[in-house]
Amino acid sequence: VIETVSSVGNITILRISGSLDASVSMQVGEALSRHVAEGRSRLVLDLQQLEFIDSSGLSALLAALRATRREGGDLVLLRLPSVVRPAIELTRLDRVFSIVDDEPAALAVAAGRVGATAASG
């Protein structure tokens, strides 16, 4: 469900696909924690192929976000599918996560060069 796609400078791009639900959220959370523990605290999560996310998945992403920011990094959500947006908007977590639609913008936000709002538009 989670795989590393590439690294651009000190930014790691990962892809989460399929279903981020209660049965896998702990595993995904641990994978993200490992990245941060190993010094990779600037993460971009490409969610284009994400089909489903529940509250456990959101909690895993939120925990990872906090971990990256504690280390001076950030976690950016890239290409969030419209079908899963309500879960994030209803919990107001769209105000917490940086959510962008294209990779250059995601890299700029993850690098701390620009805020998500500026990158989006």
Binding site: S19, D21, A22, S23, F52, D54, S55, S56, L58, S59, L62, A63, L65, R66, R69, V83, V84, P86, A87, L90, T91, R92, L93, R95, V96
Partner: protein, 163 residues
């Protein structure tokens, strides 16, 4: 929350399906796929289908976590009923039910820092309340039943023409 004490029916009129699932976290997604599929087959719009799918998963995971403390080998029963323009999904377990978190807290007035620091619990119940038209927590003879009601909007292309 109204306290309605009655045994869960074996099968109600209009019932589309009854699932008896093992009390594992995987059962949440399993149930949600089936119930979401029913909504799609019935021709309802994508947002409604996703909302029902998500809330079914949350309700089953809730039963596994709070009813059985994630111990496998117990039964979570999911009944979906489609009638009078609404889908009703009931998720029942034999456990003690929620001891806290009901009704779910609102996140409307939390600022960004508070949202970011908020711990894991509570998002599921909150989403159910926001996405469903009605959410009821009902104690039963054997345990607890969470009942979700969502009024449905059919896609125009699937609506039958009147003669």
């Amino acid at each position: 929350v109204p306290a309605v004490v009655r045994p869960p029916p074996e099968r109600e009129a209009g019932t589309l399906l009854t699932l008896r699932l093992d009390s594992r976290l995987e059962s949440g997604r399993e149930a949600s796929r089936v119930v979401g599929g029913l909504c799609r087959e019935a021709g309802f719009d994508a947002a409604t289908c996703y909302a029902v799918e998500l809330c079914t998963a949350e309700a089953v995971v809730n039963a596994v976590r709070h009813g059985y403390e994630e111990r496998a080998g117990n039964v979570v029963e999911v009944i979906a009923d489609l009638s009078e323009g609404a889908i009703v999904v009931s998720v029942a377990d034999d456990g003690p039910g929620l001891t806290s978190g009901w009704p779910p807290p609102s996140c409307e007035h939390l600022d960004q820092a508070a949202l970011e620091e908020r711990a894991g619990g509570g998002w599921g119940l909150l989403m159910m309340h926001r996405l469903m038209d009605r959410v009821e927590l009902l104690p039963t003879v054997r345990g607890t039943k969470l009942r979700l009601v969502k009024h449905l909007r059919r896609l125009p292309s699937t609506r039958k023409e009147q003669p």
